[in-house]
Symmetry: D2
Subunit: 146 residues, 4 copies
Amino acid sequence: MDNNRLKLLKQYIGKPFSGSPSPFAKWLDGIVISASEKSVEFQFTVRKEMTNPVGMLHGGVISGMIDECIGVTFFVMGLEYFYPTINLNVEFFSAAQEGDTVRVQTQVVKQGKTIINIKADMLNESGKILASATSNLAVSGIKIPF
Amino acid sequence: MDNNRLKLLKQYIGKPFSGSPSPFAKWLDGIVISASEKSVEFQFTVRKEMTNPVGMLHGGVISGMIDECIGVTFFVMGLEYFYPTINLNVEFFSAAQEGDTVRVQTQVVKQGKTIINIKADMLNESGKILASATSNLAVSGIKIPF
Amino acid sequence: MDNNRLKLLKQYIGKPFSGSPSPFAKWLDGIVISASEKSVEFQFTVRKEMTNPVGMLHGGVISGMIDECIGVTFFVMGLEYFYPTINLNVEFFSAAQEGDTVRVQTQVVKQGKTIINIKADMLNESGKILASATSNLAVSGIKIPF
Amino acid sequence: MDNNRLKLLKQYIGKPFSGSPSPFAKWLDGIVISASEKSVEFQFTVRKEMTNPVGMLHGGVISGMIDECIGVTFFVMGLEYFYPTINLNVEFFSAAQEGDTVRVQTQVVKQGKTIINIKADMLNESGKILASATSNLAVSGIKIPF
């Protein structure tokens, strides 16, 4: 199979994924670190508007970064049909603050005909784990048009 | 106890919670619908930058709205110490699109000395459930300064 | 549709579900309290072999009772194909001990073509919530032979 | 610290953990494969009474095996106070059947003062992953008497 979506993503390695079809991804403004058919890695910089009342990266934005990276992972699997996310479980371990950079690494755990399970970790610059997540996506009848 | 945080939130009923100490909350720009010591309700309008590649409210933003509302619920419980979120489980049922308004309703399920469990539902304008979540928060030794 | 599986279960109301095709269900030995196409209720008695080192109902057995009741809920929905469980999230709130009876109440939250989401609560005799769970089941190509 | 509980468990390596203080553990009848302060491995044989209506290891028993192994992991951490389990998230990937042996491997992901996060995988004899789980435990004021 000719995986054009993976090729597209790889063109952005080391740069912001400005070609993302996801408006929220643009707000998150992640840099592509690596990409394969089963795993992607993005780096994000924590901006003020991503923080909570105590100046830390908001749990909702952690969840957002992770969910977005899981979506990109699915995207570059090169499948024909959409698999909407059916659930996302996030465990929060440690905090990051404004100005910090964090990385999200994903991994396809199971690729079934109906269900795809993808996990993700968020690490800080020292490699300390900040959050861990798992998500299930379920096949739909809708073809991906791009 | 004089719950000043709940009083503060109630002053914003029907309006955006512009007094929120959370920068990400300002980005989400939710309107306070109701607030009590065990439950809050917020309404959000889906903006373009909150959407995914197919024009729907991004799962990461759904998670973000829910996590923020869970945080506000904790905030108005009037407790002395911070309870950081330790996990968030979100189930996605149906989609919303740009321009739609969605509501998040929370409920404290269990208030223990160490752990607080809060659940949340997201509904659309017709009252259809779009997402459902549960979250645990664990006590810390850090006093809330406001 | 003639829902023979629901009819079968209803014959056991007030009695142990001895006609269950599930060997583990027989070990759990639950009494059917009520049954409909979207919800079932079972009562279980906590036996010694179901307890943990401090004499409480083991979290693994709580999970087992809940998972079994979710399975029965699916069973009486009367569907043609199996929907294997893809995930189970259990929150533990309070304990039960040997000799106690506990009840598990389920509810179908979403019935999609691909995914069924079912939630469950476990209550004690006083109606206090002991545990809460949510589970997703995904359609398979395997017909249910009974 | 002299970790007597870890020493106790290590005496059972290669044998059933008949010295377990957990009655449900005895029902599960797992063999200790390995044990350290941050990880344990148990092997279980799937008995008839552990199966579901289609002859496969019941999801509730998978959850039970995993929860028990997470409990043992906590037990051998050698801590002074109980940390009751507050939630368990299990993802089911593949099936095992009567007569099969399955292994559960655990790992402490985070050990905080208030919260301990432990993950677990269940594998079959070929090393294929059958299920994956994550669990949070929260400190209590109750001393462990053994």
